[in-house]
């Protein structure tokens, strides 16, 4: 399960002449826990995938992405009291091209969803998404609104949901740490069903609405179609 250690190190009790020799004349700084863990040789054997997963889980670059109320709590999560950086996951990046985790903090509405999808698409693989708050999960208190997408999962795949309105910073920290654990164990979710995709306008099924908009929208313009009656 995800709570397992990312990798099992060697028994630290192995003491060899080689190691003693290395330490002769050196200061304490070489006498680290890691050195003990490595034992006689500075090599560890593991699977490459496992190693990379561990790296990913240990240095997550977050997209600096604010949508609504939740982003205020997200800012608090990065700041003095909660300090997400302690967990190796608090490097806010202003550009999606430098980030590998997107925290979606807020309500997604029809006008914003295609833009959010574009930002998500611009992030390099592998990428992970934390859905923060009720709106991101289901539309939350605004679910009945005429303009509100009923959860970010209608648009992009989400790995971890953090419930709350808004979730406290502690809850977000917990969610991110859980994601890190899963990433380190290679357990991130598969891409989930995405009922709404960005499509070229001409690829849409020719129904009444498409016919009506045909003279306003260019054929190769990207559009997102919302069928509010069918969404959950």
């Amino acid at each position: 399960m995800s709570s397992d250690q990312p990798f099992i190190t060697d028994d630290s009790q192995v003491v060899t002449e080689t190691r003693d020799a290395r330490m002769t004349g050196q200061g304490d700084r070489f006498n680290s826990r890691l050195r003990e863990a490595f034992g006689s040789s500075p090599f560890i054997l593991t699977k490459f995938d496992k190693f990379l997963n561990w790296c990913r889980g240990s240095s997550m670059f977050m997209l600096q992405f604010g949508i609504a109320c939740c982003s205020i709590e997200m800012m608090h999560t990065y700041a003095v009291k909660h300090d997400l950086d302690r967990f190796g996951s608090g490097v806010p990046r202003a550009s999606p091209r430098q980030a590998d985790v997107m925290i979606v903090p807020g309500t997604i509405v029809s006008k914003f969803a295609p833009r959010m999808k574009r930002v998500y698409d611009q992030m390099p693989e592998p990428k992970f998404v934390v859905g923060m708050g009720s709106c991101t999960i289901s539309g939350g208190p605004f679910q009945e609104g005429y303009n509100v997408i009923k959860g970010a999962e209608e648009v992009i795949p989400i790995d971890i949901h953090v419930p709350g309105c808004p979730p406290r910073p502690e809850a977000l920290v917990y969610g991110v740490v859980k994601l890190q654990e899963r990433v380190a164990n290679g357990e991130a979710s598969p891409v989930t069903v995405k009922p709404y995709e960005l499509e070229e306008f001409s690829d849409l099924e020719r129904d009444e609405l498409v016919d009506k908009l045909a003279d306003q929208i260019d054929d190769d313009e990207l559009v997102m179609r919302y069928n509010f009656a069918d969404s959950p």
């Binding site: 600096q64 992405f65 604010g66 949508i67 609504a68 109320c69 982003s71 205020i72 709590e73 800012m75 608090h76 990065y78 700041a79 003095v80 009291k81 806010p92 202003a94 999606p96 807020g106 309500t107 509405v109 029809s110 006008k111 914003f112 969803a113 295609p114 833009r115 959010m116 574009r118 930002v119 208190p141 605004f142 009945e144 609104g145 005429y146 303009n147 509100v148 309105c165 808004p166 406290r168 960005l198 306008f201 849409l204 129904d207 609405l209 498409v210 009506k212 908009l213 306003q216 929208i217 260019d218 313009e221 990207l222 559009v223 997102m224 179609r225 919302y226 069928n227 509010f228 009656a229």
Partner: protein
Amino acid sequence: MSLERPDTVDDGAVEQTPDELEALLGDLVVDRDDHLNAPGFVIRPDTVQETLRTLKEQAGYDHLSVVSAQEYENRYESIYHLKKYDDPTQEVSIVVPADKDDPVSESAEPVFRTADWHEREAYDLIGIEYDDHPDLRRILLPETWQGHPLSMDYDKDRPQIATLPEHANPLEDHHKDAESDTMFLNIGPHHPATHGVLHLKTVLDGEQVVDVEPDIGYLHRSEEQMAQSGTYRHQIMPYPDRWDYISAGLLNEWAYARAAEDLADIEVPEYAQVIRTMGAEMCRIAAHMLALATFALDINGDFTATFMYAINDRERVQNLLEDLTGQRLMFNYFRLGGVVWDLPEPREEFFSDTRDFLDQLPESIEEYHNLITSNEVFQMRTIDTGILPPDVAKNYGATGPVARGSGVDYDLRRDDPYGYYDELDWDVVTEDGCDNFSRLLVRMREVEESAKIIEQCVDLLEDWPEDERNIQANVPRTLRPDDDTEIYRAVEGAKGELGIYIRADGTDKPARFKIRSPCFSNLQTLPEMANGEYIPDVIAALGSLDVVLGEVDR
């Protein structure tokens, strides 16, 4: 005492009786439709400009708060709520009915610049068209949206298509030659300096901004519809917390509470008023701290010291608010007729925590002055940039720290008192620099005033006799205000005048619930401040406006 009106008020705001106004308007008035808060005059849809100009120039109604539009069974209606900056208790409503089949009404934009966005919104959500409007198109919803969601025949379940277009350079026509070197630059809707999901369509000539157009609607969460489908007593109160979500929850809740209490004639006990006042001012401190933090972030560019310092102080005041309300951000603490529960037990601990916070506040404000306001680089970036002259601010309906940073002495806490404010000793802060720096300075000085208010409230609450601690008035289980009563009431939110217009239809839910958000009007001034400046000044100007997109888009 500080609550005395400044001299200008006595000069400028001569009060007219409704009959005098009717005489002034003469033939323009077709009918009377008085609201609970103000006299109302019905006029013909083709005389809007003439009427508003008369009121503005001859009667001094220089503040168009909001345009509320709605649809009735037999007509459409736009209501222009006018006030005076010198004395906002003097109000008048101009009601403009429009034809049911062909709803066209004259635009007020030539008289009040602020009507531009308000009328676009009315067109977008209700479907009223405004003749002569400079740029009548959708503002909150995608341009390809079908139907007007707050009109009566709107089908919520119909499919919709939202486009993701390449944005064209709006100035291209003006520079037809190939030599033209203007560049079109999108800022947002995902950008760390836009304070949320705001899209600025910017055109640059070299490094200078020649045109900037805010494109909003990326967080339009149907708040008005949500409020219209909730019952007055309990179901609406959670939503105000989510308008201006920068922890200004109690200030927003007060806007709804004030409108609904006046509508349903509910008297709030004095003790509850003091608690409300104290909580609201704590919220104001929290909101201004975040404004300061993010403004420093905009200027300095990263998560640096000032941000952390200000968030630290915000955490402290949030802890107090959490003790008081039981929630960290979405307080849901006000009830119609009072508050939901009394101060936390043990009370002494709450009071001493609050006093501790107030005691260290002067020191941290000193720190901010050392860190930023006295920083030469910061001053070079903010002084004399983003100029907003007072008359322009008024024309755009700017309020709050934005107006006060331009020397407009307008604060509803003093000018249209509610709660316990008129019993306390504090001052309205204004600065006349009209630039980015003064707006920040106003916020910082307002924090000190808020601290003064909190301190006086704590003193009062500490000595309040135990058997007189009444936190709730008697409120009927179901509120059903009379059919066709209308009210517009505003409070001073963290960003300015936050007003609510409610029309009751005799049921337990409002028939129309319109939110006048200060940020919506304030954001409209951005092109005025930014055109001709450099790109970083646009960012600074936007930061100094302190917009919250949840409130702009609602």
